[in-house]
């Protein structure tokens, strides 16, 4: 039982008599180690009673990465609403809720696993685990429990195929991305993006019971969009990925190569984004919106590619920042266009 005597817990440790201070355990002589361990285990229970700060409900909610969840709610809802089969509103609500909860659970598992690097990087220092408000073990317990609940409940509310996809998504994000690829390959963002791309597909499957071309295109839209979006962020968020040992492309292959990657992935994204217009979920409105958005996104990627690092540094990464902001709008408007097409269908306007 490791006691982390920093920050808010230090008061507790000070109250204890010196030989029993749980923070001294790592330094204790080997002979007495087991005794110290036992004492610290007994104190682990006491600590929950005595510690100065108790994690409130909000701290546990933060474990679920609410901002990521809001994107999941939106894309899952679109995937569910544009499907040709319509669910009862209560079922649809439950489906979106449990897809979001599953995404939140994988976020909690990610925070448990990545607590050691989150504490190094400034962007993530304020998260509940690295800031000491919630213990890493609690994040693991909540992540596992919510994973189970969300998968079972999605299965009961809709169908087993959707539940299986959700379970795979959680596994993919928590194990394949967080535990394996994030720290071993600079393509981590590319593959990790798959986890974020599943929600609309799960929404579609929750309604129809099977995967289709439309579901795959919605998946590919987010999947191919993630790398340019994240690398644009990585270019101007000069973070200490290096110190944390995360092989970001900007660190391993340099910033020039990252700019090229952004352009290449943007070009690869366009056929999927525009191509979706010619399926059952697309239509003239989507096609028009998509063409405009893709032209602008491509122009942004081109400008990023053309820029030299010195120029970018001089104007404080103005282009990179604007492309990053636009990329959020890009995804939001694409899915909104799907929704508009679906909403107009009953009146004979949506679709082809």
């Amino acid at each position: 039982m490791a006691c982390r005597c920093k920050g808010r817990q230090s008061a507790t440790c000070r109250q204890l008599s010196p030989p029993l201070r749980s923070c001294d355990i790592p330094k204790a002589p080997i002979r007495g180690l087991s005794l110290y361990r036992k004492a610290s285990q007994a104190m682990a229970d006491l600590r929950s009673f005595d510690q100065e700060y108790d994690a409130g409900f909000g701290d546990y909610f933060q474990l679920l990465k609410p901002r990521v969840m809001s994107l999941v709610v939106f894309t899952a809802l679109v995937g569910l609403l544009v499907a040709p089969v319509s669910l009862h509103p209560v079922e649809a609500f439950a489906a979106v809720l449990f897809i979001a909860l599953g995404a939140g659970a994988s976020g909690a598992l990610n925070m448990w696993w990545d607590a050691d690097i989150d504490v190094i990087m400034r962007r993530t220092q304020g998260r509940p685990v690295p800031s000491g408000r919630v213990q890493a073990g609690e994040a693991l317990a909540i992540g596992l429990a919510l994973s189970g609940i969300s998968v079972v409940m999605l299965g009961l509310a809709t169908n087993l195929a959707a539940a299986g996809l959700l379970a795979f998504t959680i596994f993919f994000y928590a194990v394949v991305y967080s535990m394996w690829l994030k720290r071993s390959t600079p393509q981590n963002i590319v593959i990790g993006g798959a986890a974020g791309a599943f929600p609309p597909m799960i929404g579609w499957v929750a309604a129809t019971g099977s995967v289709s071309v439309e579901a795959c295109l919605m998946f590919m839209l987010i999947f191919m969009w993630t790398p340019p979006h994240f690398w644009a962020l990585a270019l101007f968020m000069k973070e200490d990925y290096h110190a944390a040992g995360v092989p970001m492309l900007t660190v391993t292959h340099g910033r020039k190569s990252t700019r090229t990657h952004i352009l290449v992935y943007t070009i690869l994204l366009i056929p999927f984004a525009v191509g979706a217009a010619f399926t059952s979920i697309g239509g003239p409105i989507y096609l028009a919106v998509s063409l405009l958005l893709n032209a602008e996104f491509l122009r942004g990627a081109w400008r990023i590619w053309r820029r030299a690092e010195v120029v970018a540094e001089a104007d404080n990464y103005k282009v990179e920042k604007s492309v990053f902001r636009f990329s959020l709008l890009y995804l939001f408007l694409h899915f909104s266009a799907f929704l508009v097409e679906a909403a107009l269908k009953p009146y004979g306007y949506g679709g082809w």
Partner: protein
């Protein structure tokens, strides 16, 4: 009879306890709503299901 003064931990944990309580209540409500939706869909139960002499169509199904 006197009550012991409330332990201070109850006050500290109020936000957590209230949050968990509300979430559980909402979960119960959702499961109930889901049950109602799923049970009432499809063929609703008819009164003659329970009669001694059932309708022929129902009789055939039972065999």
């Amino acid at each position: 009879m006197t009550f012991r003064p409330e332990h201070e931990i109850h006050r500290r944990r109020f936000s957590r306890n209230l949050g968990v309580g509300l979430v559980l209540a909402a979960f119960v409500a959702l499961v109930f709503a889901l049950t109602v939706v799923k049970v009432t869909r499809g063929n609703p139960m008819a009164a003659f299901d329970h009669r001694l002499i059932a309708e022929p169509a129902v009789e055939e199904k039972k065999e």
